[in-house]
């Protein structure tokens, strides 16, 4: 246990040093990105994204890897070493949906990836998509969720028969790290304010600690406005007027609920991008929807979520021009409503949708 703590401290310090060199700008050379197609509709939407990137002439070289868990030496479940090696080298990953195994004996793949690369921040920008009508318009907010501890620490005990205790863990270190990431994100992306979401009136010590750390970090970022709001007030105001929110930072459980709430505001998980930032400069961008096994292999899937996550990845890498081009092409296609997949309200195939976006990307050149 101590060894792990030591190793994670070292990696965190190294990460802090390395993060100062982000984002990387490769003007001529090709940068390698590890792509994990995933299960179900994963492979088809990954192919779509690769095709669109080719059409946009993005200087990226893809390295495809599989992350089905294998049992390592000592009986601990881990991701295949080739996958880990590739990620460590390239530092950037794009992941499709992964099947969560039931009774396979090993934990979910997402959890394994999170633990392996210490992916501490989950970032989900929620922007209303013109052309995909929802009752909410003009949504433009970002939820930043602490991804390693909090209520999802997985520490549960049966105290006596019929009484269960789950432990919610909040540490100073993790709270400070996520707060710093949130403020840096706000600064780098020209966002005006950061709101800490908490329930410190009930969970005095745990959320109180989280809040204190946020306040401390806010002192170093005077150019970004800092506010704090109770979780229930945020939920209440979010469904009435989501335009009042900008960047939201919060512990694990609240982040889970709020990020899915915000995804629902803009149209669901099929159009929401998501990125996971880890220590050591690792970043994995993913689509958060399921594997949709009922439509897998039938060319009916909607690649928008994975595509928008890939666009987020391009911005993270500093390739803003390409990101803008692909994003505009995607939004224009959806706005035109001529070629849309079934879940967006049309009846085109995935390949037709992809081809349309590729065409627009090439036209924009």
């Amino acid at each position: 246990m101590a060894g792990n703590a030591w190793r994670s401290t070292v990696s965190r310090i190294m990460g802090a040093v390395k993060s100062q060199t982000q984002p990387r700008t490769f003007s001529r050379g090709m940068q390698t990105v590890t792509i994990i197609p995933g299960d179900g509709i994963g492979p088809e939407i990954s192919t779509s994204v690769i095709k669109i990137f080719e059409a946009a002439k993005v200087p990226i070289q893809w390295e495809e890897r599989n992350v089905t868990a294998i049992k390592g030496p000592g009986g601990k479940w881990m991701i295949p070493p080739e996958a880990k090696e590739s990620m460590d080298k390239s530092k950037i990953g794009l992941k499709g949906p992964l099947k969560t195994p039931i009774a396979a004996g090993h934990p979910s793949m997402n959890l394994l990836l999170r633990k392996t690369f210490d992916l501490y921040a989950n970032v989900r920008p929620c922007v209303s998509i013109e052309g995909y009508k929802t009752p909410y318009t003009d949504v433009d907010l970002v939820t930043i969720r602490e991804n390693t501890e909090g209520e999802y620490s997985g520490i549960e005990h049966v105290i006596v028969d019929g009484v269960v205790q789950s432990i919610k863990l909040i540490t100073e270190e993790a709270s400070r790290r996520i707060a710093e990431y949130a403020f840096e994100y706000a600064r780098n992306n020209q966002r005006n304010s950061v709101t800490a979401v908490h329930k410190a009136n009930i969970m005095r010590m745990s959320d109180g600690l989280f809040l204190r750390k946020c306040r401390e970090v806010a002192e170093n970022f005077k150019d970004v406005k800092f506010t704090e709001m109770y979780l229930d007030t945020v939920c209440l105001n979010m469904v009435q007027d989501p335009t009042q929110f900008d960047v939201l930072v919060m512990p694990n459980l609240y982040g889970d609920i709020l990020s899915d709430l915000c995804a629902g505001l803009i149209g669901g998980l099929g159009v929401t991008p998501s990125g996971n930032i880890g220590a050591n400069g690792v970043a994995i961008f993913e689509s958060v929807h399921g594997t949709a096994p009922d439509i897998a292999g039938m060319d009916l899937a909607n690649p928008t979520a994975l595509l928008l996550s890939a666009v987020m990845m391009l911005r993270h890498m500093g390739l803003h021009g390409h990101a803008k081009k692909i994003e505009t092409a995607c939004f224009d296609t959806i706005r035109d409503k001529k070629v849309l997949t079934k879940d967006l309200g049309g009846n085109s195939k995935c390949s037709e949708f992809t081809a349309e976006i590729c065409r627009r990307v090439q036209d924009l050149d």
Binding site: Y136, G162, N201, I202, M205, G268
Partner: protein
């Protein structure tokens, strides 16, 4: 007659201990009470001379002014309810005041309250007063009925959801400690007894109100033991109600479904924290915190308040707060006391002000002040004609 009345009052005093001294009490109850014993409704003890006594806790922020309006309205309508006002000062660190309030509620059985602010900058030993009240009185069920109200503009229509939230344990157990400096642990407790109790309450309510479906909201894929136990208890209780469909949904999916298709939900039951999130989302969907009343029920006591429990500090004393939630909560209280005619009279007047007169406060996009709305409600009550003694 006097002997019977003294036995009646004795049985009322012994009522809180019915569980322990069950057999003794039933022996002492006179014949005329057996009808009451058969129904599930337990009348509140503080009723003398046909008038009920109810504890009133003004709270902070908009609480005092709105509860004043409620008292005014009751006086105007000649409702046979007397209020025993107990002030709880949120800035004091001693717990004497809240303990006095708890004693008053134990005495009267029913309370109407505003929200008491919790200053979270004070040390952790200063616990939330609202939470203390709920746990001391064991008000285990928080019930909130969210319906689209006529005359209120919302993005979604035809919402009719009853949310039943476990009110005493879960994440709100206030058990926290710092083992190592910089590492805080907060305990979430889920017990079989409380989970069965709330599930039983939910299914019973669903049956009484003629509802078809109960959905349990949880996160058992991550908190396998805790929420897993809750879900299992719900499933066990559901087996005893074959006429009601039971399904379950993970909390993040629930919030997503609520903002896109809220009409699919009927009755929802869940642990404490998810209840907080879901009830606030639903309140926002039907028009905001100023419209929805909430009720906290225990085995022996009931406390009524606004569903989203806001103090509304920023709009306090400006005469712009929406009194609808507080007044509808007082109607729920009247229903609980058995004064159904008064309750429906006031409720009709409130809904008519909302939909026909369209007098809205600022939170609904109108320009009305709180007093104007209350005056309008009183006018509507007057229009309805006097409640004659045959109707009561």
């Amino acid at each position: 007659m006097s002997a019977a009345r003294s036995v009646l009052s004795l049985s009322k005093i012994l009522q809180p201990w019915t569980g322990l001294k069950g057999s003794t009490v039933s022996v002492m109850r006179p014949v005329m009470c057996t009808r009451r014993e058969k129904s599930s409704y337990t009348p509140p003890p503080a009723k003398y001379g046909g008038r009920h006594t109810v504890t009133l806790i003004p709270g902070d922020g908009i609480g005092p002014e709105l509860l004043n309006h409620a008292q005014e309205l009751f006086r105007f309508c000649c409702v046979p309810v007397d209020f025993e006002v107990v002030n709880v000062d949120s800035s004091l660190t001693s717990e004497d005041e809240i303990n006095n309030a708890v004693t008053a509620i134990r005495r009267n059985g029913v309370a109407l309250k505003g929200n008491i602010e919790t200053n979270h900058n004070l040390p952790p030993s200063h616990k939330s007063r609202n939470n203390l009240l709920r746990t001391s009185l064991d008000l285990y069920a928080n019930v909130m009925h969210c319906q689209t109200l006529p005359g209120v503009q919302t993005r979604h229509k035809d919402i009719d959801i009853i949310i039943i939230r476990e009110n005493t344990e879960g994440e709100y157990s206030s058990l926290e400690h710092e083992n190592v400096p910089g590492v805080v642990e907060s305990l979430k407790i889920i017990t079989r007894v409380n989970s069965l109790r709330i599930a039983e309450y939910a299914f019973r309510q669903a049956r009484e109100k003629g509802r078809r479906r109960v959905t349990a909201v949880h996160k058992a894929n991550i908190m396998k033991l805790g929420d897993g136990l809750f879900l299992q208890c719900c499933k066990e209780v559901a087996a005893g109600y074959p006429d009601i469909t039971f399904d379950n949904m993970i909390v993040d999916n629930t919030t997503m479904q609520l903002v896109s298709k809220p009409q699919q939900f009927d009755v929802m039951v869940m642990p404490n924290l998810y209840g907080n999130v879901v009830s606030n989302v639903c309140a926002g969907l039907v028009g905001g915190p100023g419209l929805v009343p909430g009720a906290n029920y225990g085995k022996d006591y009931a406390v009524f308040e606004t569903a989203t429990r806001n103090t509304g500090k920023s709009i306090a004393n400006k005469n712009i707060a929406n009194p609808t939630a507080t007044l509808l909560a007082s109607c729920l209280m009247l229903d609980h006391l058995g004064l159904h005619d008064y309750a429906s009279m006031i409720r009709k007047a409130i809904l008519r002000t909302l939909s026909e007169t369209r007098l809205h406060t600022a939170d609904l996009g109108g320009q009305g002040t709180t007093s104007e709305v209350v005056q309008s409600i009183m006018k509507e009550v007057q229009k309805g004609g006097p409640l004659t003694s045959e109707k009561i």
